[in-house]
């Protein structure tokens, strides 16, 4: 595997050549985790096709670099990188025997260039097509065309005024009707269907007054056209739709982009497994194709795709994603192993006793579902505004109609004025107020490596009044780090590292990390569950458990390993799972923003207490199972505390779903990412603070926009009620208010732009 790194041209920068994206270190360690994409290759018309998610491609240089390298692979027919979505689509002509090798070669060569890549499940790709977005764009195009052309005709009617003869005006109205009616009926479909769904469920959403205004404006205009009236509202109807469709499309794009990004992350964890078939042939399979009874091989670094029992081999496994326990556990044949457990040291063979759907993850999924139902009761700010707004506006329109009917007597005048009220109050500004702000806020967070799943996630984060952290992998690095380096003589450290280099055990890796590069002991042997033994000079050296090395009992319960050279006194290596460097700062910054922290962990009491003390967190609970964590979140909810939950493990997923709002790091288990509202990338926790700040600013902007819309209505409604509104005034008012709301949203992008220059 390391051969790939060696051929890398030293002069070519790894990763994006523009420096927009920091390059990822590709170590031999990662290479061990390269999955075999063969199960994801799709064969069609004699071509092998593969879709890859490529991370870190940002500029033209990346396109050139990646596509050139891909086309250099034998038989490659098509290689096209979509820079917007980060998808690389490949097709090659190949015999079935060697196609698997080509697939693996592509990922390996991307890795050598400095890009991480992961294959997409072809089934997932099919559902990926953004049909809804296309539909909205088409509607937007039609509404835009109609708005421009009808406005052209309307402006001439307004400008013509009294000079224009009735015949010419009739021609203009006739042409307007011809354009506006079919266009409006086509472009308003998204609103009609949403309003209809709302009414079926007996609640009035924003789309009800929108649909009503469009239909009534068209009906009134047709009537006026036939009786030869002076004013028609064809232009108002289509312009309304045009503005509202912009808001609708922005909202859709935001959610779709977040979903796509989340899918890319999950593809990174899309699992393939090595199945041992008949006659000991090892074949790669997709995790979902595993059936009960399959024998699977887990190399060091592999993650168990399903629940099972170990059939062969003894190894240390990392349970941190499943239980939150930070210390690696030893597992021997006959013991069970859960999906999501990572094999750390030796080759294991496991027998699956569940499919992917029935594994541990599935149990957690039920808990997650229960949590998400409670969350779906959240009502978006815009819908809350609509609840106030709809009855008020409809009452006003009715009052106008009745009033004019009584005092003026004319049915026609009363109807015209009532409809004018509906048209002019139609929530152009309200429809744009929230999506425009949320698109800008999400874009800003996206640049800082925070993915937002939906607009209301921002609203919920802005409301949060407490933050609940998981420990292992969230506040801490999630791997052991040598804690007592100063107590260890440098030569002992080097000798221990020389032994440790032959092992993949997490503690060995932690020793090597501190010692740096160096030689390995050539003939060292690893004894699973005990340690490593080898010869340095004439001495027999051992690195391993206390008992095996012959050391005294441990003074405390920390993670430890012992090193002994010949008959010299054994040396103790103590390890801790240390917090992220910025963890304390982030906890303090959140407290300063009114979000006191609490720690919930599945780890041992003393480990949790140590981290809590280090970070200045006074409230913590240890040794919790997933159910208990979720119950704690429910208790907070019952006490009316709106808690933000930050967690990464499978054991956190139910509590993520029960929290008012949830965040999860990009390294988290897939179930947790699926349950989280925000996913943040990169080392450290500081994106959380950024997300809180941006979401609060976004909330303020949305409220400002609502206030503006209310002010606008306060001015416009009296005009409409007393019959002063003409189509010209309606057009000016609508476009003016939409413009102001959009500009206010854009302010969010300008202010507080990160001063940090991109790394050279």
């Amino acid at each position: 595997m390391s051969a790939g790194v060696a051929i890398k041209d030293a002069s070519a920068r790894a990763g994006c050549p523009s420096g927009l994206e920091p390059s990822v270190e590709t170590t031999t360690d990662d290479a061990a985790g390269v999955m075999d994409p063969a199960p994801f290759v799709r064969r069609r018309d004699g071509l092998c096709e593969l879709e890859l998610a490529v991370f870190g491609a940002r500029c033209a240089g990346c396109i050139a670099k990646i596509e050139t390298a891909m086309k250099a692979i034998g038989g490659m027919e098509r290689a096209r990188l979509n820079l917007s979505t980060g998808r690389l689509s490949l097709a090659w002509r190949d015999s079935p025997q060697s196609s698997n090798k080509t697939a693996q070669k592509t990922i390996q060569s991307l890795r050598d260039l400095g890009y991480r890549a992961a294959p997409f499940d072809p089934q997932a790709m099919e559902s990926d097509h953004d049909a809804e977005g296309r539909r909205l764009l088409r509607a937007l195009g039609v509404a835009g065309f109609a708005a421009a052309n009808v406005m052209l005709l309307s402006v001439s009617v307004w400008a013509g005024g009294a000079d224009m003869g009735a015949g010419t005006r009739g021609l203009m109205h006739w042409a307007s009707a011809l354009i506006a009616i079919p266009a409006a009926l086509y472009a308003a479909q998204p609103f009609f269907s949403s309003a209809w769904n709302g009414l079926k469920n007996r609640h009035a959403n924003m789309d009800v007054p929108i649909s009503l205004a469009v239909i009534l404006a068209l009906a009134l205009s047709i009537h006026e056209f036939f009786v030869g009236g002076e004013h028609t509202y064809f232009d108002a109807a289509v312009m309304l739709l045009f503005f509202l469709l912009i808001g609708r499309y922005l909202d859709h794009r935001l959610r779709w982009r977040a979903r796509a990004a989340a899918r890319d992350l999950l593809a990174m964890q899309a699992m393939t497994a090595q199945r041992i078939g008949e006659g000991g042939v090892i074949e790669p399979v997709a995790a979902r194709d595993i059936v009960v009874g399959d024998l699977l091989m887990l190399s060091p670094g592999d993650r168990a795709p399903v629940d099972g029992v170990i059939a062969e081999g003894t190894s240390h496994v990392d349970l941190s994603l499943v239980t939150g326990e930070s210390a690696p556990q030893k597992r021997s044949p006959g013991e069970s192993i859960h999906a999501g457990v990572v094999n750390k040291s030796n080759r294991l063979v496991m027998r699956a006793n569940a499919t992917v759907e029935n594994s541990l993850v599935a149990d957690l999924a039920r808990l997650i579902e229960a949590g998400e139902q409670s969350r779906s009761r959240y009502i978006r700010l815009a819908d809350r505004a609509a609840r106030l707004y709809v009855p008020v506006v409809h009452t006003l329109a009715l009052a106008t109609f009745v009033g004019w009917l009584f005092f003026d007597g004319g049915l026609r005048v009363a109807a015209i004025n009532a409809i004018a009220v509906l048209i002019i109050t139609c929530p152009c500004a309200l429809g744009l107020a929230a999506p425009a702000v949320q698109v800008v806020a999400t874009g800003r967070l996206f640049k800082r490596g925070v993915l937002v799943r939906s607009g209301d996630a921002l609203e919920r984060l802005a409301e949060a009044g407490a933050v609940v952290f998981d420990k292992t992998g969230t506040l801490t690095l999630g791997r052991p780090v040598l804690a007592n380096r100063d107590d260890i003589a440098p030569e002992d450290l080097q000798d221990a590292a020389a032994l440790a280099r032959v092992s993949r055990h997490p503690l060995s890796r932690a020793v090597v990390e501190v010692a740096g590069a160096g030689a390995a002991v050539a003939d060292a042997v690893e004894f699973p569950g005990l340690g490593i033994e080898g010869m340095i000079g004439d001495d027999r050296v051992r690195l391993g458990s206390a008992e095996w090395v012959g050391a005294p009992d441990a003074p405390d319960a920390s993670l430890e390993t012992w090193f002994r050279r010949g008959d010299a006194a054994p040396v103790r290596f103590r390890f801790e799972d240390i917090p992220h460097q910025d963890a304390r700062g982030v906890v303090e910054a959140l407290a300063a923003r009114g979000l006191p922290a609490e720690l919930l962990s599945g780890d041992r009491e003393n480990a949790v207490a140590a981290v809590a003390e280090q970070l200045g967190v006074s409230r913590y609970r240890a040794e919790l199972n997933p159910q208990q964590k979720a119950e704690r979140l429910l208790a907070l909810r019952a006490a009316d505390t709106k808690a933000a939950m930050v967690g990464d493990g499978l054991n956190d997923a139910p509590s993520l779903a029960h929290a008012h709002v949830s965040l999860s790091p990009g390294t988290a288990a897939d179930a947790s990412q699926a349950a989280a509202d925000f996913v943040y990338l990169g080392e450290g926790l500081s994106p959380i603070v950024e997300a809180v700040d941006v979401s609060r600013k976004a909330r303020r902007r949305v409220l400002e926009n609502f206030a503006f819309a209310a002010l606008y209505n306060a001015c416009a409604i009296p005009l409409a009620v007393f019959g002063f509104v003409t189509p010209l005034i309606a057009a000016l008012a609508m476009s003016g208010s939409s413009l102001v709301v959009t500009l206010n949203a854009l302010r969010l992008a300008g202010e507080g732009r990160p001063s940090k220059a991109p790394a050279p």
Binding site: C59, A60, A64, S84, V142, L171
Partner: protein
């Protein structure tokens, strides 16, 4: 005013052409990768080999 009888259909025809062009572009996938389209213009892979070596300032990755 009879000019309007020609001018309005002409205006609509031109607008309709624009709309048709937009719908065609949407259907043929030209809105699938706006970032990529903006970046690809900088690539010089359509140049001849010797020409490509001469152009120094364009972003070009080769070994």
């Amino acid at each position: 005013m009879t000019g309007l009888l020609y001018l309005i259909p002409i205006a609509l025809l031109l607008g309709g052409l624009g709309l048709a062009a937009f719908l065609w572009a949407l259907r043929s996938g030209q809105f699938d990768d706006p970032d990529g389209a903006a970046a690809r213009i900088l690539l010089d892979d359509d140049l001849e080999e010797d020409e490509e070596d001469a152009s120094q300032d364009a972003p070009r990755i080769s070994r």
